[in-house]
């Protein structure tokens, strides 16, 4: 007699193992962050900021179809909001990250209302125009604390913020932000919202027909992405101090590498952008430092970056993590998938059958 005991499986042995390893990795980075090697802390901050940015861009592009070339708008808004709170209102620089992120969130409301009138490629360029508008407006604001196009510096008097202390704190904040951002993405995709998003991505009309409010789900995710993108921009400048509109709102410094990281890692997966960001960062760090064996000039490095984006988008759309998942179907760090395990008998067979 066959007993049928169906249940939905989410976490798997692999996901528990890999999740544990990821937690260990974070713990190791936290230990490094509290050390006193400034270059290591700089690397942690840069890498974590790009993990956040890539995860958020992927949440938009990979799950809602909102492919934006204008996310630098939120990096810049977060950065300048930080400057306004810290320099203009003499707030604690670390605390100022929080209102900076909220300002990015608030700014995202009118931006979404406008940009959501465009679709696909036109949405992408429309976001770019909006980022340009913000950049030009910031450049026109020549008074304190923004100081127009020539830029300004975050006030970090050594008496209040000793350098060692600032590097440690910033590295820890960046690491925490990355952990929270990736967890939010994973939890969001596990939730009802995540199911709706994936339904919209796979068949927009079908999902709408089943009662998914496509506009509302997209709007919600756009807000989340703006919040974290703004926070990431602010954290970056806790370390870099020097702020200029042309760099804070630069498409080449922010959105271009983000796009490349996400497609290399695997668009539409939670793990892909994280792996893409870390990998891209390590490779860039190596090939652009002058004492490496394989050294590229800026132009060659960017030419290769563009070529990789082009080739991956044309021939390897699943990216690294996607390719790995094709090879090993049960591979996942974050248990966001649902597998229906049908009865005991089938449950055994299901072990090597991949995702249901």
């Amino acid at each position: 007699m066959i007993r049928t005991q169906n249940h939905v499986q989410r976490a798997t042995g692999t996901s528990k193992l890999l999740g544990g390893l990821a937690a260990l990795l974070v713990a190791w980075l936290a230990v490094l962050a509290t050390g006193d090697v400034a270059s290591t802390q700089t690397k942690i901050v840069e890498m974590c900021v790009f993990v956040v940015l890539a995860s958020m861009w992927n949440l938009l592009a990979g799950y809602t179809g909102l492919v934006s070339i204008g996310q630098q708008a939120f990096v810049g808004i977060g950065t300048y909001a930080l400057v306004v709170f810290a320099n203009g209102y003499d707030q604690d620089i670390y605390f100022s990250v929080l209102p900076a992120a909220l300002i990015a969130l608030v700014a995202a409301v009118p931006i979404a209302l406008l940009a959501f009138r465009l679709r696909g490629g036109y949405f992408a360029i429309g976001m770019w125009v909006i980022a340009e508008v913000v950049r030009l407006l910031v450049k026109q604001y020549k008074a304190d604390p923004i100081k127009g196009g020539s830029g300004t510096s975050l006030n970090v008097p050594v008496s209040l913020y000793p350098k060692v202390d600032r590097f440690q704190t910033t590295a820890l904040i960046a690491l925490a932000l990355a952990v929270v951002a990736v967890s939010v993405v994973a939890l969001l995709l596990r939730s009802r919202v995540g199911l709706s998003l994936q339904a919209v991505r796979d068949n927009e009309a079908g999902a709408a027909g089943l009662g998914v409010n496509v506009y509302r789900e997209r709007f919600f995710v756009f807000m989340i992405a703006a919040l974290f993108t703004g926070a990431a921009g602010a954290v970056w400048y806790l370390l870099k101090i020097r702020v200029q509109p042309d760099t804070a709102f630069s498409v080449g410094d922010w959105t271009a590498p983000i796009v490349v990281m996400v497609v290399i890692g695997g668009i539409g997966t939670v793990e892909g952008p994280v792996i893409g960001a870390v990998l891209w960062y390590l490779v860039r760090d190596y090939v652009t430092s002058s004492d490496s064996v394989i050294h590229f000039s800026d132009e060659w490095y960017l030419i290769y970056t563009g070529l990789i984006a082009l080739i991956v988008a044309l021939y390897a759309q699943r990216g690294l993590w996607g390719a790995l998942q094709d090879r090993f179907p049960r591979l996942q760090v974050f248990p966001i998938q649902r597998r229906l395990v049908v009865g005991d008998e089938v449950a055994v067979r299901g072990e090597d059958e991949g995702n249901g």
């Binding site: 070339i69 679709r119 696909g120 125009v129 030009l136 960017l302 030419i303 563009g306």
Partner: protein
């Protein structure tokens, strides 16, 4: 400059924007493809023209005769190697691929030509103007405008009156049905991209003769082209011309009124206003 002159200048520069936008409009109309490297192709044409002039002498105008067919061939190749794989796929990959292409073109140009700005010398033509009372009209901007209108008229006749043009419109409306009727979509796509690249090459040379240019100018030109398309409304070539003119007017009139603000900001703001008030553009028939 008085107001009337600013209006004329705005209309004339609008013709150039329409010429930039034509290729974008054709690619989207036929393939639903947005090429983010569109502006970089224009910059590439300006540099190629300057190389030709430096090596063979003469005025930049003769280089147009070379660059138009070259642009068409570049378009065919681009379609075969890159765009064919992007038609009908998730827009994310179209954007990533053409964005990558844009980065490659920009930095390859930077590698070859360095970051110095260049200009195409058209001699006296650049500064000549005809005066009617207070009004003075630059000869070169006028010529540029007329060329843009001529291109749009010929393209419109081609789409409306020829057999191939009919096949274009059929493919745009329903690619599957068009294929069933014996139209080879891949040929149509190749011709479309050929036209898109040769028109943007033409625009690039005319722009390079008017102002100096650098390897990093492409994205800015892409944005102007895009704004002209959206302001005018998708799916209409005449809408694109009108969109270019309205964009040009916004920039010159804005700069006339607020002299210490960047002129492109007024174009951006107009674009956002149109998006808020008339999201299908001023003359559009297709939803963006």
């Amino acid at each position: 400059m008085n107001w009337l002159n600013a209006v004329v200048a705005g209309v004339l520069v609008g013709g150039l924007y329409a010429l930039y936008a034509t290729g974008l409009s054709v690619s989207f109309g036929v393939m639903r493809l947005v090429n983010l490297a569109h502006g970089d192709l224009a910059v590439m044409a300006a540099f190629l023209s300057s190389t030709l002039v430096l090596s063979a002498g003469g005025s930049p105008f003769w280089t147009i005769l070379v660059l138009l067919p070259v642009g068409f061939l570049v378009g065919l190749a681009l379609q075969r190697v890159v765009f064919d794989r992007l038609v009908g796929v998730d827009p994310a990959f179209q954007i990533v691929a053409t964005f990558g292409l844009s980065i490659v073109i920009q930095n390859a140009l930077l590698r070859v030509y360095s970051a110095d700005r260049r200009a195409l010398d058209v001699g006296k033509l650049k500064v000549d103007s005809v005066s009617i009372g207070d009004l003075s009209i630059g000869v070169f901007p006028l010529l540029r405008f007329l060329v843009a209108v001529a291109v749009l008229v010929s393209l419109s006749l081609f789409l409306g009156r020829t057999k191939l043009g009919r096949a274009f419109r059929a493919t745009s409306d329903d690619p599957v049905a068009a294929r069933l009727m014996g139209i080879n979509n891949r040929t149509i796509y190749m011709v479309a991209t050929g036209i898109a690249v040769s028109t943007v090459f033409l625009a690039g040379v005319f722009n390079g003769a008017q102002t100096n240019f650098a390897t990093s100018d492409g994205p800015g030109l892409l944005i102007f082209a895009f704004e002209a398309v959206i302001i005018g409304g998708l799916g209409s070539l005449w809408g694109t011309l009108a969109g270019g003119i309205v964009l040009g007017l916004a920039q010159t009139l804005g700069a006339e009124q607020f002299t210490d603000w960047p002129s492109q900001l007024f174009g951006h703001v107009l674009f956002l206003v149109v998006l808020a008030v008339r999201p299908n553009g001023l003359f559009g028939r297709v939803e963006a």
